[in-house]
Amino acid sequence: MRISEAEAARPLRIVVVGHVDHGKSTLVGRLLHDVGALPDGKMRQVEANCKSRGMPFEWAFVTDALQIERDQGITVDVSHIPFKSSKRPYVLIDAPGHREFVKNMVTGAAAADAAVLVIDVAEGVREQSRRHGLLLHLLGIEQVAIVLNKMDLIANDPARFEAVRAEYEQYLASIGVRPAAMIPVAAREGANIVTRAAAMSWYQGPTLLAALDAFAPKARAVERALRLPVQDIYKFDQRRIVAGKVESGRIKVGDTIVFSPSNKTTRVRSIEQWSAVPGFVPPQSAEAGQSVGITTEDEIVVERGDVISHAGDMPFETDVFRARLFWLGREPLEAGRRMTLRIGTQAMPVVVQEIGRIVGSGDLSERAGTRIESFDVAEIVLRASRIVALDGYSANAATGRFVLSDGADVLGGGVVELGGYPDQRAATTRKGENLVRVEHRVSVTQRAQRNGHKGGVVWLTGLSGAGKSTIAVALEQVLFSRGIQAYVLDGDNIRTGLNANLGFGPDDRAENIRRVGEAAALFAEAGFVVVTAFISPYRSDRARARAAAMRIDGAAGFHEVFVKAGLETCERRDPKGLYRKARAGQIAEFTGISAPYEAPDLPELVVDTETLSADQSVELLADYIGRNFKF
């Protein structure tokens, strides 16, 4: 394919990677010098910097701009340096090779069209030589030239060059990478960088610059399916503009588009653009690479994170998917870890459900394991908190790769590998127009699977002052800290809201408990362990609450817990001063004094607070829930 003039004028971004001290910065400094790209005075400045440190001329000082880099002789962070060959403009990205700075190497490499990987031929293939090769592959850098540097140290020996070349080529083949060239170089001397080295006349391949000139810019994904992740919705004036960058494909005024995962369909009314030119006519279409704004024919509710596509070629929808991950976190990654998934403009909590093969540190051998160490590459399964719109990485890079973060820190990046899990779009799309009953698109079992436990109702009953509320709130905290979705419904709290219109007569008491029973059942259906703390003196009321909870298929049902303490004890405790008021006749129909309490016949559990401390009571209940709400 011939590239257009405009594409040819675009600087090609080349990242230079490789093991620490293999001579990346030296190569970059020498290349810049040999193509005549150093500004006036730069050589003198570098000479002065070297002299003041009492060392010979150091090419790496051309790019190692930071004081610490010159003092320690290592590159800490990425530099971007522009230069031109006779063929085209370039930006050289000099990435650090030290293990500690892999995240900076990734930052530099992800922005590149192509890469130069430098290996010290005297030292041979080392840890970062392999790791960087693998990371380039995962970052989607397909054009790679390998420089076997420091040929001067092995007297330009073709046999030793061939040994290292063959070893590394074999490694690259094992990860599916084919290098464009493997070049013997002596960077300090400028051998085979821009000019061919007479001392290595046995080498027939291209010089480094010739290899770079043969690379092509990354093609924009214009011919792929439309993907336009929504960045924001603006209403600065009468227009409601949906803004985002077209990551792939084309979009035209009049196109029928679908927003995923919200699954809403409309048509493009206009493509908006601001221009200061009088009489400016906004465009009728836009394509991959352009930041655009569109207005739609219907005022549908969309939000940041939605992905716009055409109706015929929509992204995959799922809440669970496989991925290859490179892990940059300092702490090892283990299954069960919760983080934030950022894919396109979507962001949501995810949990690492499974860890598969790990390509380990050091020798990059493969192993099965449960811990992903810093800078490992691993196969994982991620489960998101809701449906994600995504693509397989090979089908669409922009919607097929993601980062994982925790708080402010990006901890890793990965590429999506579809397969093994179904597209859930069909299952989550309502088919009928006139359905009476709304069917949940998420089943009780799915919720339990996500939470790691079933939902259900733990119904505390007992006299006022028996300890229900105390136990309930402490229990909620303990369960929460154990990763259980727990929620307390407490008498006084419900009576100030949902049941504010109810009094304390028998009818209102029954209605109070009926509503609480139904509300508890809804929470249970939503996956929660609901702990209720109501005197609930009537057996029939508790039976109705039980029936409501038992209607839910796949939940843990209803667990009646008798919080037992005698009337005398409760009256002595009298935490709210209610018994005193009841005895004084200030409260009518007070349970135990002037109204009955029907103790449970066959409670699932009895918690005797006359013999157990509050902590012991909570522990007893927490253990009981641990056993009975297991998924």
Binding site: G41, K103, L139
Partner: protein, 264 residues
């Protein structure tokens, strides 16, 4: 799409990510060529609107042409302009070389305006090709309470996912022009007909290639009197852009020290 289209689209995307994630935002406007392009790009990003103020960190030592330009353009473009004063040179770190010390007034003025307005995002028009420590910057660069640049541990930044979380008590610097080069800026100014301060154009064989305070900026020899001539000059020049910025050349690490302390 040519290179300018690509750069424009990337910068617009950066503005929109910043606006979606960080509030409130202020944008530095030095009145120089780069920051005029930046304001222009922001108006494109938000469809003719500019939903945050522009800040001129004012040392009081700008060239008269700069003030004249600032007030005229602010009016014509209806900018919400904050003119933020800087503390006097006597209050600066006396261990800095004299010109860097003068420049450090801007850092202090910037810290003050960030504190006064509670800004959590500061948009700055620095470019990687200007200066070798700027070449190491991130698009989104988190700053702690002291505004310091922790170049030793910058966050990873790839695939368009930026560090948009604001550090406690600090702010995030946003750099929409980071991948633009000097010649890109001039080509874009030419294409979009963006106004610039006339000091950039040659008079009597000299012009300002980079505009700073009048006490620490000198013109360089040049006959480029039009935008087209400036572009032609840049295509062949070997003189670095900041040759006329005296603060860069006093000591090996003077600019790095300024930037670590929070300079743009």
């Amino acid at each position: 799409m040519d290179e300018l289209d690509r750069l424009e689209s990337e910068s617009i995307g950066i503005f929109r990510e910043a606006f979606a994630a960080i509030h409130p935002i202020g944008m530095l406007w030095s009145i120089g060529k780069d920051s005029n392009v930046m304001v222009w790009l922001a108006r494109k990003a938000f469809f003719g609107h500019l939903p945050f103020p522009v800040i001129h960190v004012d040392t009081g030592l700008e060239f008269p042409e700069v003030y004249e330009f600032r007030d005229r353009v602010a009016r014509e473009w209806s900018l919400n302009l904050i003119a933020a004063p800087c503390p006097p040179i006597e209050a600066m770190d006396q261990s800095l070389p004299p010109n860097a010390r003068s420049a450090s007034r801007k850092t202090a003025g910037l810290k003050q305006v960030v504190a006064d307005h509670g800004f959590r995002g500061i948009v700055a028009g620095i470019r990687r090709d200007e200066q070798s420590t700027r070449a190491k910057e991130r698009v989104f660069s988190p700053r702690g309470a002291e505004s310091k640049w922790d170049f030793r541990s910058q966050p990873p930044e790839f695939w368009g996912h930026f560090a948009t979380t604001v550090p406690e008590g600090g702010h995030v610097r946003i750099h929409p022009l980071l991948s633009w080069s000097e010649i890109d800026i001039w080509r874009y100014i030419q294409r979009e007909q963006i106004p610039v301060v006339p000091l950039y154009f040659s008079r009597n064989g000299m012009r300002f290639r980079s505009l700073g305070e009048s006490d620490i900026t000198v013109p360089v020899p040049s006959n480029a009197a039009t935008i087209a001539e400036i572009i032609a000059e840049l295509e062949t020049t070997r003189v670095p852009e900041r040759a006329g910025r005296t603060m860069d050349h006093e000591a090996e690490d003077s600019f790095e020290r300024l930037r670590v302390d929070g300079y743009m």
